[in-house]
Amino acid sequence: MKTKLILNLWILLLFGLHSSFAKELMVLRWAADAESNAPYIFQDPKIPSNIIGFEVDIVNAIAQYLGVETQFVQNQWDGLIPGLYRGDYDIAINGLEITEDRKKEVNFTNPYYITHEQLVVLKGVDYIHSLSDLVGRKVGALKNSLAERILRAKGGINVLTYEGEVNAFVDMKNGRIEAVLVDAPIAIYYTAVNPEFVMVGQPIGEISYGIALRKQDTTLLAKLNWALDKLQKSGKLREILEEWNLWNFMMEKYLNDYSESNVPPKKYQYFLESVSKKSEFSERINLYIKFLPIFLKAALITLGLSILAMIVAIAFGLIIALARIYGGKLISPLAVAYIEIIRGTPLLIQLYLIFYALPSIGIKLSPFLAAIVGLGLNYAAYEAEVYRSGFFAIPRGQMEAAISLGMTKAQAVWHIILPQAIRIVIPPVTNDFISLLKDSSLVSVITMIELTKVYNQIASTYYDYLGTGIITAILYLLLGLPFIRIARYFERRLSIERRETAKLEGKIV
C-alpha cells in the first residue's frame, strides 16, 4: 500500500505535475513559433505585440468551446514536441503534419486543416508545370517536410532544403534554384505579397495538420477532438479558413461541405494591405518607430540575461580555475575535463541538454534560468582559462612570501594572488562579456524571446530582413559599447601603472 503510494507520487512527479488533469480546467497553454509566418502564427503587422494567424483563431475557438483561458508559449519550431514533455505547455499547434514518425512521440487530434504542396516559380518561367518537369533541376523545400519527401521520392531532382521558406524564395530569386515546393498556405501568402513569384501546376500530395499533445494526456485529447468536432459541425472552422483565404477543395471533401463560399477573406486582405505598402520610405520609418518598444524590451532581456550569465561565469569560472591550479591530483583533472568538454562542444547542444534532457532526471529550469545557467556554465570554462593566465602572471615569489609569513595557501590565494590576478583579467573578461552578449542570441532555441528572436519574428512577418536587421545590429552595438569603454579604461589604467612602476624602479636609486 505504502510502496504503491510512493510509486504513484513518483509517477506524478515525473509526468503528472504539468499534465492536463492538473491544469486543463483553468488555462490551455499552447505553443507555437511566432516566427513561422503568415498565415499560421505571426505578429500583427499593425500592432506587433499581437500574435495572429489562422491557428490562433482555431485555438481560441477551441478554448471557447472548452470554456478555458489560453496562454501562448513561444518555442522554436524544432523544439515544439520536446517542449511538450518538459511540461511548459499542454498542446502544440503550428503546421505540424500528422506523420507516423511523430505519432510515436505524441498524440495528434483529428486534422484541423488539410492541404497540399504547391509549386512556386519565378514569374515568366514557362517550362515548369509538374513534378516531372523538375527532373534534372535544382528545387528547394523546407527541411523534413512532406515536400522534401515527395521531391526525393520522384528521383532525379536535385533537392536543396532550407530552414525557412524565405531563404528558399530568396535563393530562387538569385538563380540558385528553379522552383520551390511548399505547403499551399505558404505559397498563397508569399506569392500574394511578392508578385515576382507565381504558383504553377496542380496540387501535389496531401498534408494534414493536427494538434500535438503528450501521450499520457488522453482526457485532454478526447476533449480537444470533441471541441474540434463542434468547430467543424458549427461551420466555425470553415468560417475561419475562409477569412484567411484557406478554404480549399480538400477541406470541402473532408467536411463534406460543398456549399458556396459566402465569407469574405477579410483577414487575408488585412494582411496584404498591411504588408504590401511597405515601399514608401516614410511609412517604413513609421513602422520601425512602432517596432522600437518591442525591440527595446527584447534588448533589455538580452542585456539582463547576459549580465546574470556573466556573473555565473565569473564566479563559477573562478572556482574552476582554483580547482585546476590548486586542486592537486584528484580535483585538478576534473577541472581540466570540465574546461575541455565545455569548450569542445557547441553551446547550442549544451543549451538543448540543459533545457530538454535535464527534466528527465528531475531538474526542470525555466527558460530564463536555463538560459542563464547554460550561458554561464559555458562561459565559466573560458573565464577559468582567463583567470589561470592571470594567476600565472603573478610572480611565484608572491606566493612564497605569503607562505613564509605563515599564511596558509588558501589565505595567500585570497589575500595576495587573487586581488592581483583580478586586476589583470578585467580587460579580457570584459571582452568576453561582449561576446557573451552576442552569443546570447542562441538562447532563442530554448523559447527565450530576446533581441535576435524578435528580429526574426518581425523580419519574417514583413519579409524585411534589411531594415530590421540594421536596427538589431545597432542595438547590439549600443548594448556592448559601454562595456568596450570599461575594458579600455582598465587596460589604460593598468598600463599606466606598469609604466610608472618601471619608471620609478629606474629612477629612485
Binding site: P395, L405, H415, E500, T501, I508
Partner: protein, 256 residues
C-alpha cells in the same frame, strides 16, 4: 642555547643531489653567513629550513618543532599532511627575506606589514598598525606607511620586507641574498638593519655574496660547495686560515 639544528640532511632534485649530509646548528642570537659559489646548494638549504622545500632524509629542528626523516621509511600516507602542519608551525617561527623584491604590490607599505598579523595571528587591526609603525621606524622608514611598493627604491623595499617579517615576531630570520638585486649604494642600508637586529639579539642566517659583511658582522661563516658543507668557522678562521684547500681557493677570489 641551540635554536636550530640540522642533521644528516639530504635532498635531491631528481637525479641531482643538491644537499649532501648537511650538519650544523645555530645558537640563539648568532648571525651566521653562508657563502659559496652559485649552485652550491646554499639557497636550497635556507629554503629547507623554512620548509619551502621538503628534504628526502635527515632531521630538522627549529626551536621546539622537529621534522625527523632519519629512518627514511617513516613516510606513510599522512606523511605529507604531517609535514605541512609542522611546516606551518616552523614558518611561524622563521622569517624569510628573498632576493627578489616581493612586497605585495596591491597593498600599501602599512598593509604589507599588518596583513599577516591580522590574518594569521588574528591580531586586532589597531594593534597590528601600532606595531607596524614601530617596526617601520626601526628600519628607518617612518612616514612611508601609505606608499605603494612601486613608489619605493629597492633598498627601501627590502627594509619594508624585513619589517613585514618581523611583524610576525620570528625567532629566526633567514635572508636569501638580500642585497644582490640592489644597486651597490643601497646595499648598506639593508645590511645596517641586519646589524642592528643582531645587536638586539635576533638569530639570523644570511646567504650572501657580500664578503665584507660576512667577514665583519657574522659570528660564524659556513662555506658550501657542491651541496656539502666544507667548513664552518669564525670569520677570521674562514677568511684568514681555512682548513680546507677548497675554502681557501674560494676566499682567495675576494682577496685582490
Amino acid at each position: 642555547m641551540e635554536i636550530l639544528k640540522v642533521e644528516a640532511l639530504n635532498k635531491r632534485f631528481g637525479e641531482y643531489q643538491v644537499l649532501k649530509n648537511i650538519n650544523f646548528s645555530v645558537n640563539k642570537g648568532e648571525l651566521i653567513s653562508i657563502i659559496g659559489r652559485s649552485g652550491c646548494g646554499k639557497t636550497t638549504l635556507l629554503r629547507c629550513i623554512n620548509c619551502l622545500e621538503t628534504f628526502d632524509s635527515g632531521y630538522l629542528r627549529v626551536s621546539d618543532i622537529e621534522i625527523d626523516k632519519r629512518n627514511g621509511q617513516k613516510q606513510n600516507n599522512n606523511g605529507n599532511q604531517d609535514f605541512e602542519t609542522k611546516a606551518q608551525k616552523i614558518r611561524r617561527k622563521v622569517g624569510m627575506l628573498f632576493q627578489s623584491l616581493n612586497l605585495f604590490p596591491h597593498l600599501t607599505v602599512l598593509e604589507n606589514i599588518t596583513l599577516a598579523p591580522i590574518v594569521v595571528k588574528k591580531e586586532p587591526k589597531e594593534k597590528a598598525i601600532q606595531e607596524a609603525l614601530i617596526l617601520l621606524e626601526k628600519v628607518g622608514l617612518k612616514g612611508y606607511e601609505n606608499r605603494y611598493p612601486y613608489q619605493l627604491s629597492g633598498g627601501q623595499s627590502q627594509r619594508v620586507a624585513i619589517a613585514r617579517s618581523l611583524a610576525m615576531n620570528p625567532e629566526i630570520m633567514l635572508y636569501d641574498e638580500p642585497t644582490s638585486a640592489l644597486d651597490p649604494e643601497l646595499v648598506g642600508e639593508v645590511l645596517n638593519v641586519m646589524i642592528d637586529l643582531h645587536k638586539e639579539g635576533m638569530t639570523q642566517i644570511v646567504v650572501t655574496h657580500a664578503m665584507n659583511f660576512a667577514k665583519t658582522a657574522s659570528n660564524l661563516v659556513v662555506y658550501m660547495e657542491s651541496g656539502e658543507i666544507i667548513e664552518i668557522g669564525t670569520p677570521q678562521k674562514i677568511f684568514e686560515s681555512p682548513n680546507d684547500p677548497r675554502t681557501e681557493a674560494y676566499v682567495r677570489l675576494f682577496k685582490e
